[in-house]
């Protein structure tokens, strides 16, 4: 049973954990195996949630984004899925930084700086067309609306 609030990225696995892990992995193969494994920790989004309004169009690969805002706790929960392994892994990294946080914190977070620090910034570049940049923009936009 899919439960968006059970996704532990951002709770048990934080962006800081991932940055530290990646620091120890200097060879590209280890890094990409690690990224793909991160993606595998994300539950698949059920087909009925893969709707047009959750769909983030990329030129090459697709991303689906589901969010759930808990207004009592002022916390935004999120889930993502992708048809491509590496993009899903990179999306998991995004979630490690943004999931289960307040809209204000999400709005203030500098994702480019983080991806630069872990040496994966090229994946967020507009030329990649993998949907990841559009996904971050969509989360930020939603956070901005909620924080307003």
């Amino acid at each position: 049973m899919f439960d968006i609030r059970s996704i532990n990225l951002g709770k048990d696995i934080t962006a800081e954990d991932i940055a530290e892990d990646l620091e120890f992995l200097d060879d590209w193969e280890e890094r990409y195996r690690y990224i793909i494994d991160l993606g595998k920790q994300l539950p698949a989004l059920p087909d009925e949630l893969k709707t047009e309004d959750r769909f983030v169009r990329g030129c090459q690969s697709q991303v689906w984004l589901e969010t759930d805002y808990d207004s009592d706790a002022d916390t935004l929960y999120m889930a993502v899925d992708s048809d491509a392994l590496i993009v899903k892994g990179l999306a998991a990294i995004v979630l490690s930084a943004l999931n289960r946080r307040t809209p204000q914190a999400i709005h203030d977070y500098d994702m480019d700086a983080f991806f630069d620090r872990i040496d994966l910034l090229s994946h967020l570049s507009p030329t990649r067309g993998n949907g990841l940049r559009a996904m971050v923009a969509r989360i930020k936009h939603q956070a901005e609306t909620l924080a307003a």
């Binding site: 195996r33 090459q60 690969s61 491509a84 392994l85 993009v87």
Partner: protein
Amino acid sequence: MTVKALDIQALRAQFPILDQQVNGKPLVYLDNGATTQKPVAVLDALDHYYRSVNSNVHRGAHHLSDLATGQFEGARQTVADFLNASREEILWTKGTTESINIVAHCIGRERLQPGDEVLISTSEHHANIVPWQQACLATGATLKVIPLRDDCSLDLDAFETLLNEKTKIFAIGHASNALGTLNPVKDMVARAKAQGAITVIDGAQAVAHFPVDVQDLEVDFYAFSGHKLFGPTGIGVLYGRRELLEAMPPYQTGGEMIETVSFEKSTWNQLPYKFEAGTPNIAGAIGLAAAINWFNQQDRPALQAHEDALLARVTEQAEACQGLKIIGTAANKVSVLSFLLEGAHPADVGMLLDKQGVAVRTGHHCTMPLMDSLGIPGTVRASFSIYNTLDEVDRLFEALEKVKTFL
């Protein structure tokens, strides 16, 4: 089979960009369907033009303008000779896309009527679909599409059935960008003309692989891009048969394309200038001519034999590669391998190849209707050119074996 006449290392040495490391590995550039690399002859021509010749064409009363005009019009003659056309029939454009748009606007939208049909094929690039689709929407004409056989070659029986006296325009790719399939365009053009259709060939994926003769093809319009022919980006060509170009209205209006202007009316310049409003891409035209001149100086039959050898090797290895499915197995192909790895998204394969220095393209290759018809989201495409080596084919498959360990 290797061709003794061809010194591949000497050829590669003329393409400085090839000699570099990507992600710590020697670059294997297999994205030639997207754009080809440029030989030193082209780089030098561009550099020389801007250093020593740069001036506007056709209007200056000074030495440099005469020089620039001479080189610019000389470039047009080079392209005319390359296609076996006359220089008045060679229009400079931004590329294949603009070339086809000119025909779709100035012939398509002008002449199509409700009930008319435009015939294209399933494997066309978006550049040879969308302009016709929009011309049909604007005029009430209908877009008809030739389906593919199982090997992704055109279904020629269906072509015969679809072609009729309502077919006013027949527009077809010479070679498919996504799959490499070589279409029997000469025969198809002859049949379409017999029905009275205006014929258009998208030659973007053809001109860098084999000689093209528009007289022999007897085609009305032929389009290609400079950057896929070892030339600069931003320059392309539309060949048009003189009678049709004469009868067509201008595409854009402004300077250069006029003969006389008053506030009430204007008259148009002669061919080809009627279709070249504004200052043209002078450096691009000169760079493209340098590319063609360079290409003509090579041993073209030896280069073709080399490309055939590359295709044979890559096909043989692909067939032996576990879990690899070739997309597009037609008998006649240019040197392109489009494929899927079982259980792998093309984007993942592309990224993991890139990490190993192998540059391919992944995705729908601007052929979404084709991918829909095949029921796949996209493919991985390795597209070869004259400077690729048999060793690079092996590098591709070594890299693919590594990719498999990630999946």
